[in-house]
Symmetry: C2
Subunit: 350 residues, 2 copies
């Protein structure tokens, strides 16, 4: 090893889901939205002036921040925007999790949390979910350096009732509590209504799922002005201009087009509820998802076998080769047509 | 102070230059390119399909990385792309500067370096420039935890000959040496030609200046495969998908349109050389810039006064209210027409 290599920060990075290329495949592996972004986004893209790009974007991302503040009925100094919710969470870990005490997050959860903790050298503990894959709120009442959990949780899809979320916050007023609501629009109740009650609560959401904008990289968090100021200071110490012009312009249009948003989310919920019936009939069991995916195991056929067989037929779902999870497949909700194709192929395989 | 506030990472963030809004102003304060991005970028924007945005972008940014590798005649595993060179440098600091020994960068230099060092709690020392504002290579021969300097330097505009850059690298083979070449295309000689000779050398460049793409946020670095693997691992531990689809698509087109690139860079160099004559005639002195800006002081009128008077007339230049720098104005090179307007107004003021 060369001397300079000794000073490299060694990490085991997060591995994102495959992005297979090709026209004739059904991609149900990364929880993308099967519908295109709002028509307002299309229109804004068509009229975008490339000559603007020569200038730096607004570092404060004013248009998008103000539009989100108005939409969620909070003040603009309560909103922070980043390059996808991963960027927001990375910044939030760096900003708020600087205690010697371990932070807490569920053992089965977004697999990026331990990666960030390792990257920033933050001690952590991972309380186990209960036998029904649910978060046990009491596990989060012990001393800690901060808390983060997704609600609904991933990859289980389970929603924790808001009263229990509030119990966790109430019992942790000395640390920052982050609720990662990537999937909240598909049926859960957001902790945003608690924002003005608890100044240590940070709610994180994304444009990647319900807003069909994974390709644009837009995430945001909402919290007290003190939290938002602190994360903004860290952002300005990392990279002043994180959101490029297309993100700012198209993200803003996406939020403005609320009818389309509600309509596509409703369609996905319908398709998910139908999927629950159909997958049950095929012999699958699963926690009752409130997201745009279903975390399902089959009564007799091994998950990895199903995963491989689907892949051979150009249908991609997510399979985690890890203890506990390796009995399950995480199946994103596609269009009704894609799902019908999935049921037909599953019937062949099983 | 509340208990949770004790665990906040407290930082003094970098302050970017103003982004004043309005049609009739001349903006020479943030070293933006006065010309629009390449025609190929315009065309790709016009044909961009918004429905693609529902999917995640390619996390490996393959198209852009390969195009850059081909352009700079290196292997694709020698290129890393980020959200502007600020993102690349932030990741590089986090990845490579993990020694107990201080890193070194010039005292007068990009003012973000100390901000990153503070953010990541990296010890640092800042050797002074010489009386002509030039880097003294011998100052970088002492024991250290890593080195970064811009070449040409900012805000001085001075280029350090490649032989001296190489001397610094030769004397520092036990640490990572980063050369920040944001302005290299305006006349300097890039250290890229040393990449395959020194596996601890990282060369950082940006699309924000010479490629007229500040609004798109694209930066990159080139180095040995070992360096690029390490920074990629950290990136995948921070945010898997940093580059959104428009950045990837339009960035790639920008690199492909080489004739336009060379033509606009040549125009800016011409305008800069003319500016040197005209500013001299107006009583300014300045280091001999190899960038798209001139760092100038006036023989009799105070820099802050000139800055304020220009601002009143809707001409924005950069003024740093800091010791040594506060005698100077950093004037970005605009179009010939904008510069003529500047000379007229300066004549009125002086």
């Amino acid at each position: 090893m060369k001397a300079w290599e000794a000073n490299i920060r060694r990490v085991v990075p997060y591995v994102p889901g495959d992005q297979p290329k090709g026209e004739r495949l059904i991609k149900l592996n990364t929880n993308e939205n099967p519908y295109p972004p709002a028509p307002g986004v299309k229109k804004a893209l068509e009229t975008m002036d490339h000559s603007l790009f020569r200038k730096y974007p607004d570092p404060a991302v004013t248009d998008l921040t103000e539009t989100l503040a108005e939409y969620y009925q909070v003040e603009k100094n309560q909103v922070f925007v980043g390059v996808g919710s991963d960027d927001v969470i990375a910044m939030a870990f760096m900003t708020f999790f600087n205690s010697e005490k371990p932070i807490l997050f569920p053992d089965i959860s977004y697999s990026f949390y331990p990666v960030w903790a390792e990257l920033f050298r933050i001690p952590y503990e991972t309380p186990a979910l209960d036998e029904e894959f649910q978060i046990r709120k009491e596990d989060y009442y012990k001393e800690n350096g901060g808390i983060i959990f997704p609600n609904p949780n991933a990859p289980t899809g389970l929603f924790l009732p808001l009263s229990e979320v509030e119990d966790i916050i109430k019992n942790n007023q000395d640390v920052v509590v982050m609720v990662d609501e990537a999937y909240i629009d598909f049926g859960g109740v957001s902790a945003l209504e608690l924002i003005n009650k608890y100044d240590n609560l940070l709610v994180i959401q994304t444009f990647s799922k319900s807003r069909s904008m994974a390709g644009m990289r837009i995430g945001f968090c909402i919290g007290s002005p003190a939290l938002i100021k602190a994360i903004n200071d860290v952002k300005y110490s990392f990279n002043s201009y994180t959101m490029n012009m297309p993100s700012i312009i198209l993200g803003t249009e996406s939020v403005k087009d609320d009818d389309y948003f509600k309509e596509t989310v409703a369609k996905i919920i319908d398709t998910r509820e139908e999927a629950k019936k159909r997958l049950s009939q095929l012999g699958f069991t699963f926690p009752d998802s409130m997201t745009n995916f279903i975390f399902a195991r089959h009564e007799s056929v091994n998950a990895e076998v199903i995963y491989e067989e689907l892949r051979k037929r150009n249908i991609y779902v997510r399979y985690f080769k890890k203890p506990v999870l390796d009995d399950y497949l995480r199946i994103s909700i596609g269009t009704p047509e894609e799902m019908e194709e999935l049921y037909i192929v599953l019937q062949e395989i099983l």
